[in-house]
C-alpha cells in the first residue's frame, strides 16, 4: 500500500512489495540488484532514535517516512515527532536527554534483533556461495561432486569469495554504526552538550574511520579488484570512486563551507591541506597510469608467440607481480584518506570537528539514500 504524494515512490515491479518485512534485510548488492530497503529502513531505525530533527535533513526524512509506511514496517506516528520538537525547545535539557536515552535504548534493542537476523542470513549466504563455487569448479573438471569435500578443495576462489563476503558483512555493520554515530552527533550538537562529551563523540568517530581502513586493508589482500570496483558501495557513491574510495580533496571542498566560522589561520590550513591532498592524489593517479602502461607492455611484448610457451608463462608471472602493486595503491590511497582526516582533526576545534564529522556522515547518508531512490525510480514499461 502506498502513502504520500501519488507516484513519488511508486514501484511498479519490485521484489520488495511482494516479500515480507524480514526478507527486505537481505543484501543483494553483489547480484547487481540494489536493495533499497536495507539502506532506507536501516537509516530509518537511526532516525527514530533521534526525535529532534535537523531541518536540513527534512527532505530525506520525508522520503524515509514514506518508505516505512509503504512497507508496513515499525509503525510510526506521523505527527508525534514534530509535536515533540516544538515542546522540546522549551523543556529543560535533562528531560530532553532522558527521553533521548529512552529512544536510544528502544532503537538499540531493535537494532540488536535485526543484527542477529542479518548475521544469520549472511552466514547462510556465505556457505551457499562457497558451495556454488565448489560445484562450478568440479563441473568444469567433469567431476561429479557429492557432498562436502573439505577445506582443501575450496582453493583460491573459495578463499577469495569468503574474504569478500566477510568484508561485505563487516562493512554493512560499519555503515549501521556510522549512521548511529551521525545521529548521536546531530542530537548532541543541537542539545549543546559540553566540549568534553563532544570530544568523546569525535574520537569515536575518528576511530570508526580507522576501523574502515583496517577492514579494507584485509579485503585488499583478499580481492583488490573487488575493492577497486566499488561494488561494495552504493551506486551514487561509486560515481565518486577513486582508487577504492573517496577523493580526500573533493570531500574537503564539499565539507569546508559547512565548518564556518573558521579563523583566518584555519582557513589557510584547510586550504593548504586541500592542496597537499590534491598533490598526493595526483602522484598516486600517475603511479596508477604507469602501472597500467607497464602491465599492458608486459602482456603485449610477444603477440606472435614466437618466443615460446616458457616466455608466455614468464610474461604471465611478470604480469601477476605487477598486479600485486594494486594492493599497495589501495593501501596508500586509504592511508592518504586517514592522514587527511587526522590533519583536519588537528586544525579544527572539538566543536568544529563534531560538525565536520556530522557533515561527512550526513553526506554519505544522502548519497546512499539517493542511490536507493534512483534504484526505485519509476521506469517506462518496455
Amino acid at each position: 500500500m502506498l502513502q504520500g504524494p501519488a507516484g513519488a515512490f511508486h514501484v511498479i515491479s519490485s521484489p520488495n512489495s511482494m516479500s515480507s518485512a524480514s526478507a527486505q534485510f537481505a543484501t543483494s548488492r553483489r547480484m547487481g540488484i540494489y536493495e533499497p530497503n536495507h539502506q532506507i529502513s536501516m537509516w530509518g531505525d537511526s532516525f527514530k532514535a533521534d526525535s529532534s530533527q535537523n531541518t536540513g535533513a527534512s527532505t530525506i526524512v520525508e522520503a524515509d517516512a514514506k518508505h516505512d509506511n509503504r512497507l508496513g514496517d515499525i509503525p510510526r506516528e506521523s505527527s508525534g515527532p514534530s509535536k515533540k520538537y516544538d515542546q522540546e525547545a522549551h523543556k529543560p535539557a535533562d528531560k530532553v536527554l532522558r527521553r533521548l536515552a529512552q529512544n536510544r535504548e528502544a532503537a538499540r534493542k531493535s537494532r540488536l534483533r535485526k543484527k542477529a537476523y542479518v548475521q544469520q542470513l549472511e552466514s547462510s549466504r556465505l556457505k551457499l556461495s562457497q558451495l556454488e563455487q565448489e560445484l562450478e569448479r568440479a563441473r568444469q573438471q567433469g567431476v561429479y561432486v557429492g557432498g562436502h569435500l573439505g577445506d582443501s578443495t575450496l582453493g583460491l576462489s573459495g578463499t577469495v569469495n569468503s574474504g569478500v563476503a566477510a568484508f561485505e558483512m563487516e562493512y554493512g555493520h560499519w555503515v549501521e554504526e556510522q549512521n548511529r554515530q551521525t545521529c548521536e552527533l546531530r542530537t548532541a550538537l543541537q542539545a549543546h552538550v559540553s566540549d568534553i562529551e563532544l570530544r568523546m563523540l569525535v574520537e569515536s568517530g575518528m576511530s570508526h574511520y580507522d576501523n574502515l581502513f583496517r577492514i579494507k586493508a584485509i579485503a585488499a589482500k583478499s580481492d583488490v579488484f573487488y575493492l577497486m570496483s566499488g561494488m561494495w558501495k552504493t551506486s551514487a557513491e561509486r560515481f565518486f570512486l577513486w582508487i577504492g574510495g573517496f577523493r580526500p580533496s573533493e570531500l574537503l571542498k564539499v565539507l569546508s563551507p559547512q565548518l564556518d566560522p573558521l579563523t583566518e589561520q584555519q582557513v589557510v590550513a584547510v586550504c593548504n591541506l586541500q592542496q597537499s591532498s590534491q598533490q598526493a592524489e595526483d602522484a598516486l593517479s600517475q603511479g596508477m597510469d604507469k602501472l597500467q602502461q607497464t602491465l599492458a607492455e608486459t602482456l603485449t611484448s610477444d603477440p606472435l608467440g614466437a618466443s615460446g610457451v616458457a616466455n608466455y608463462m614468464g610474461q604471465m608471472a611478470n604480469a601477476m607481480g605487477k598486479l600485486e602493486a594494486l594492493v599497495s595503491f589501495v593501501n596508500q590511497a586509504d592511508h592518504l584518506r586517514q592522514q587527511t582526516l587526522q590533519q583536519m582533526y588537528k586544525i579544527l576545534t572539538t566543536r568544529q570537528a563534531a560538525r565536520g564529522l556530522l557533515a561527512l556522515g550526513d553526506y554519505f547518508q544522502r548519497l546512499r539514500a539517493l542511490s536507493s531512490l534512483w534504484a526505485a525510480r519509476p521506469r517506462e514499461p518496455a
Binding site: 597537499s276 591532498s277 590534491q278 598533490q279 598526493a280 602522484a283 597510469d289 602493486a325 592518504l336 592522514q339
Partner: protein, 152 residues
C-alpha cells in the same frame, strides 16, 4: 606517456627549479642511476639532497618521484635489482643514516627498510607512507628547505 606536471604546481615548479648543481632537465630525461651495492647508495645519498631508492620497475617509485617533483625538487633515483635484499640494505645504511624523527627510525629498525625509501639531506625519511604523512602535515617543505633542496 604524458609526463604531465600537476596543473596546480606548474608555475611553482618553474620558479623553484633545482639545486643549481645540474642544469634544469625534463623530468622524463632525468637519468636514474643503477647501483650495484649499498656502498654506492650511501655515496649517492650523501652527495644529493633528495634521493629515492627503489626497485627497478616499481610503480611506487614513480609515485614518490611525482610527489617530490610537485614540490619543486628533482630527486635522484637509485634503482636496486628486483631481488635486492631490503634487510641487507638497512644493515649497511642504518648506522650512518639517522631516521627523521624517533618513531620513523624505530619502525625501520624493527622491520627493515621499506622500498621505495626517501632520503633528504642525507637522512632517511622513510617509505611512501611516511612521505605522505609528512607531506599532509605540512612538514615536507620545511624539511626540504632545511636540506637545501628548495629555495624560497
Amino acid at each position: 606517456m604524458q609526463q604531465a606536471i600537476p596543473y596546480s604546481k606548474g608555475a611553482a615548479w618553474v620558479r623553484r627549479s633545482n639545486d643549481g648543481r645540474r642544469p634544469p632537465v625534463e623530468p622524463a630525461a632525468m637519468a636514474a642511476r643503477c647501483v650495484a651495492s649499498s656502498g654506492d647508495i650511501r655515496r649517492v645519498v650523501e652527495e644529493n639532497p633528495v634521493v629515492v631508492v627503489g626497485r627497478r620497475g616499481c610503480c611506487m617509485v614513480h609515485v614518490v618521484r611525482r610527489l617530490l617533483l610537485g614540490q619543486g625538487v628533482n630527486p635522484t633515483v637509485c634503482e636496486v635489482g628486483e631481488d635486492a635484499d631490503e634487510a641487507a640494505l638497512i644493515g649497511e645504511l642504518h648506522p650512518e643514516m639517522a631516521a627523521e624523527g624517533g618513531d620513523g627510525g624505530a619502525h625501520l629498525r624493527g622491520q627493515g627498510m621499506v622500498l621505495p625509501a626517501v632520503f633528504i639531506g642525507g637522512r632517511l625519511v622513510g617509505g611512501l607512507d611516511r612521505l605522505m604523512a609528512v607531506h599532509i602535515s605540512g612538514e615536507l617543505v620545511p624539511i626540504l628547505k632545511q636540506a637545501g633542496a628548495l629555495w624560497l
